[in-house]
């Protein structure tokens, strides 16, 4: 288990803008140990979201290799990547991104539609996930009937329901007030500490970054690491 969960080696990423090819990363290396809780900070446009997309198998690097749990994933096909994401990654977004016509429980159940679990097993999983985020009593509520913080908790439950190893959060508290943000961040901390989830979280807020074990600063496609918690 000493082996790192994710290893990025020599990552290059370019976007085509018209005829020009704009480099985001060049020769980027990064290692994320198991049970890490890393905050990524940096100015807008520095490539934070792009990095999360690469870690989560949403996007592929132009160069370099990505190993997840000892297996290469940068060369997987679209369908293999979809299966990889379903099995290994939980995503948490700034704007919650819940389905408005589904109840909280149904939103949480969504990733389980991709598994072979039977209805009973699914119901158990959903119940547990909602209990973990403290929303057992809101299972039947629609997103429109929940506060922002509650919606984000539903989103967290959805992210953990299929028991992934890695949680990727892109500004999970960007839309919340400080108190609610604290609750959400505390919850992520618990998931990291008690359930052993590895977490990579992008944030603009130094207060939020404090909840992480370490903070990485990204600027112009490069890291300058400072351990704020030290």
């Amino acid at each position: 288990m000493s082996e790192a969960l994710i290893v990025l080696k020599g990552i290059g990423k370019r976007y085509k803008r018209g005829k020009q090819s704009v480099p985001i990363f060049e020769h980027l290396d990064m290692t994320i140990p198991r049970q890490d809780f890393a905050a990524i900070m940096g100015p807008s446009g520095s490539g934070k979201t792009t990095l999360l997309n690469l870690l989560g198998g949403i996007d592929r690097p132009s160069e370099g290799t990505i190993n997840f749990d000892g297996k290469r994933m940068d060369n997987l096909s679209e369908n293999q990547l979809a299966a990889f994401r379903a099995a290994n990654i939980g995503f948490i977004f700034q704007f919650y991104n819940l389905m408005p016509m589904l109840s909280a429980a149904q939103n949480v159940e969504l990733p389980l539609l991709l598994t072979k679990l039977g209805p009973r097993a699914r119901r158990e999983r959903v119940k547990t996930a909602l209990a973990v985020v403290g929303l057992s009593d809101r299972a039947r509520h629609k997103p429109s009937e929940l506060s922002g913080g509650q919606q984000q908790r539903v989103a967290i439950a959805r992210a953990i329901v299929s028991d992934p190893k890695l949680l990727l959060c892109d500004e999970p508290t960007g839309d919340l007030d400080r108190e609610t943000a604290g609750e959400i961040l505390g919850m992520l901390q618990t998931l990291n500490r008690d359930l052993g989830k590895t977490i990579v979280m992008v944030t603009h807020d130094p207060e939020a970054a404090r909840f992480a074990k370490r903070t990485l600063h990204l600027d112009k496609g490069r890291f300058s690491e400072k351990d704020l918690n030290a």
Binding site: A83, A86, F93, Q106, E109, L113
Partner: protein
């Protein structure tokens, strides 16, 4: 929650929009079903026509008469097994709106030629034995509440009796039932001899001849022989198979099939645009959600099925309701029309074609949006907030 439930919840997310779209589909399929029912009715004569029956009419127009002597002359043509004749009476019961197909026939030969008009032996004998009697179709008997032995007055809008009245009284001697499905017995028939003697004009002339040939293979030759026999006479003839005759009769009403095709085509063209547009709009509105689904692991395939499933469900709900309404309407129409326009029935073929169109509509309207959804680029879709 199942995949299907997810599709259903997606469909009924914008309730008003879905209801309106469903209604448009419903109307198009109801129009299709009802027009197809009419077309089936118009074609029912041609479908049940017997291949070994020929019809001889006046060449100028089938409504013009011919001398009765033609019957015996046609009977001498080799290959002709049986000859009968009929006159158009132009009848109605009580009021002109109760229009009746009423025929003056030669009873024995006519019933022999049309075994599909079924009469119990006793009723048949009663009809043949009473010159003043009439046989009626079961649908008409039910509609007008006619019983065996009733005296019923039938009026003509063409003929007058010698005494100046326009009403003939007949005794109901038999009630006909169809020998097989599609056979149309919604008419009444009485003795030509009685009609001839009581009418004030027309003399001894008949409307048309019906004959049975030894084999359909002889039809061509016999037709030519008969028409040649009366060529250059004051009453030239035209001989056709019963099927061709029925078809020509229907075509008097214009090319109904073509008109139906146009109407149905316009209706479906319109809903194709409406539904296609709705689905496109729907997918565009959900760009972000689709990106989220893909992010959490839904494959391109499953996204495709999610969208195409929704358009199929939409087409199915509207389409099946529309076909159901057309089926209900066909039962009502059959009752109201009393079969005067042929056998008004919503056929299994119509249902099958309807279901085929439902599937085609669902696939066509869902295809583009589904492809668009499945090929959605998650990185750019999630990036644009």
């Amino acid at each position: 929650m199942t995949f299907f439930q997810l599709i259903r919840k997606n469909l009924f997310r914008k309730k008003l929009r879905t209801i309106l779209t469903t209604f448009a589909i419903f109307v198009a399929f109801a129009i299709f079903g009802i027009l197809a029912t009419f077309q089936n009715a118009l074609n029912s004569g041609a479908d049940t026509a017997s291949a070994d029956r020929l019809i001889v009419t006046n060449k100028i127009n089938f409504t013009l008469p011919m001398p009765i002597a033609y019957a015996s002359r046609v009977a001498t043509v080799p290959g002709v097994k049986l000859v009968s004749h009929a006159n158009w009476f132009g009848g109605y019961y009580q009021e002109p709106k109760n229009f009746l197909v009423a025929l003056a026939i030669d009873p024995q030969s006519y019933l022999d030629l049309y075994p599909e008009y079924v009469l119990p032996p006793a009723q048949r004998a009663a009809f043949l034995g009473d010159r003043g009697s009439i046989i009626v179709g079961e649908g008409l008997a039910k509609q007008f509440n006619w019983k065996l032995g009733d005296r019923i007055p039938i009026k003509s809008n063409i003929f007058r009796k010698v005494d100046g009245s326009d009403t003939w009284d007949f005794t109901v001697a038999g009630i006909m039932t169809p020998g097989s499905t599609g056979v149309d017995v919604n008419f009444v028939a009485f003795h030509y001899e009685y009609f001839k003697q009581t009418r004030s004009f027309g003399g001894d002339t008949i409307g048309w001849l019906i004959l049975r040939t030894e084999s359909p293979k002889e039809n061509e030759r016999i037709s030519r022989t008969i028409d040649a026999m009366f060529a250059n006479s004051p009453f030239e003839t035209e001989t056709k198979t019963e099927q061709a005759f029925n078809k020509a009769f229907t075509e008097q009403l214009g090319d109904v099939g073509f008109i139906i095709l146009l109407v149905v085509g316009a209706a479906f063209g319109t809903i194709l645009l409406i539904v296609g547009n709705t689905m496109m709009l729907t997918v565009r509105e959900r760009t972000n959600e689709i990106a989220v689904l893909k992010t959490i692991g839904f494959t391109a395939d499953s996204i495709f099925r999610l969208v195409i499933g929704e358009s199929l469900l939409l087409a199915s709900i509207g389409g099946l309701l529309g076909l159901g309404a057309a089926y209900a309407a066909s039962i009502g129409l059959a009752a109201v029309s009393g079969g005067r326009f042929g056998v008004m029935a919503f056929s299994p073929v119509t249902a099958l074609i309807g279901v085929g169109i439902i599937v085609a509509l669902g696939l066509l309207t869902g295809l583009l949006p589904a492809l668009r959804a499945m090929n959605l680029n998650v990185v750019t879709a999630l990036g644009r907030k």
